[in-house]
Symmetry: C2
Subunit: 199 residues, 2 copies
Amino acid sequence: MDRRREELLAAALELFSKYDAEDVSIDDVAAAAGASRALVYHYFGGKQELYVAALRSAAVELEARLRPSGDGAVIEELRAGLARYFDFVEDHAAGFAALLRGGPANRAGEVGEIIEGVRRRLVKMIMGRMRVDDPSPALRVTLRSWIACVETAGLDWLESRDVDRGVLERLLVEQMVALLGVAARHDGRVEGLVADFGR
Amino acid sequence: MDRRREELLAAALELFSKYDAEDVSIDDVAAAAGASRALVYHYFGGKQELYVAALRSAAVELEARLRPSGDGAVIEELRAGLARYFDFVEDHAAGFAALLRGGPANRAGEVGEIIEGVRRRLVKMIMGRMRVDDPSPALRVTLRSWIACVETAGLDWLESRDVDRGVLERLLVEQMVALLGVAARHDGRVEGLVADFGR
């Protein structure tokens, strides 16, 4: 990909991570990248497009960080994945909070699709790691719910910062185990997954 | 409040419940209420304002449905509340899905504030019913997470309809108990709440 475009995108992502999108201007991005305003418009067309492009690159980064190694017990990988997730939340604090709390106005379709896409692929990653191709409804709802728990915990942590990150990460692992235990009561196939979890 | 305005609002809410907001026009709302396009503009100014007003009235309706009676065990009230929640989801199916698809994201300022306000007040309602004024961080995260689980389950159900509603409602009650059990491991005060739950 074009190096100049990459530099602009990196500068944009850093600014959108630190500040609410409304408080970041095209001029700020140009200045941070040592480029002209015109060059930003040349590559991205406008601020909304730049925001969407930065969000897309953040999504790619998050998924790369969370890709399971396939080594070790599922529960260990979950622990390691959560630590990397909270690193990401911390690195992109303001942007993450603004995005999930309901940031810039006009962000109907595209932004929502990027976020939904990340969630769907995270559910798939976890299913892959659990060696499940075709989840039962109870398992599907459970994994989607847990992803929502993780997002909620990340947002709550950024807002309040009154819990130790490590405690929150442990809480989330235990929530996953507890939620799978509930699902197992409704679907016998989940029982085996729970048993495999710590192996 | 003005009767004419109320009628327009009721017509708007019904249309926004049945169709994606993009597919509802001012003309549709006017026609459904037997009013002129000009009258809709007179009362609401434009479609975004009308949508926000309809959403606000849906939020009021939802909270009225979910207000706990204070009779019976907390777990019984939770069961009854979930049944009323799913009635609401069913009554406003398309609008609910369009609104929450994209989950905590995909929403601009005013709309985001309405939804966040509902969530905050639901957490408060549950805390009130549990007789907790000042939640520990672990309890706060748990209740917020559970609200996210309920939203996720509602959305999943509208998308897939492959689980019985009653099964999903039971799953959610069990999730609440399981999540509180996890929180109790991190905060001794939650233990007592879990014990009181079935009383």
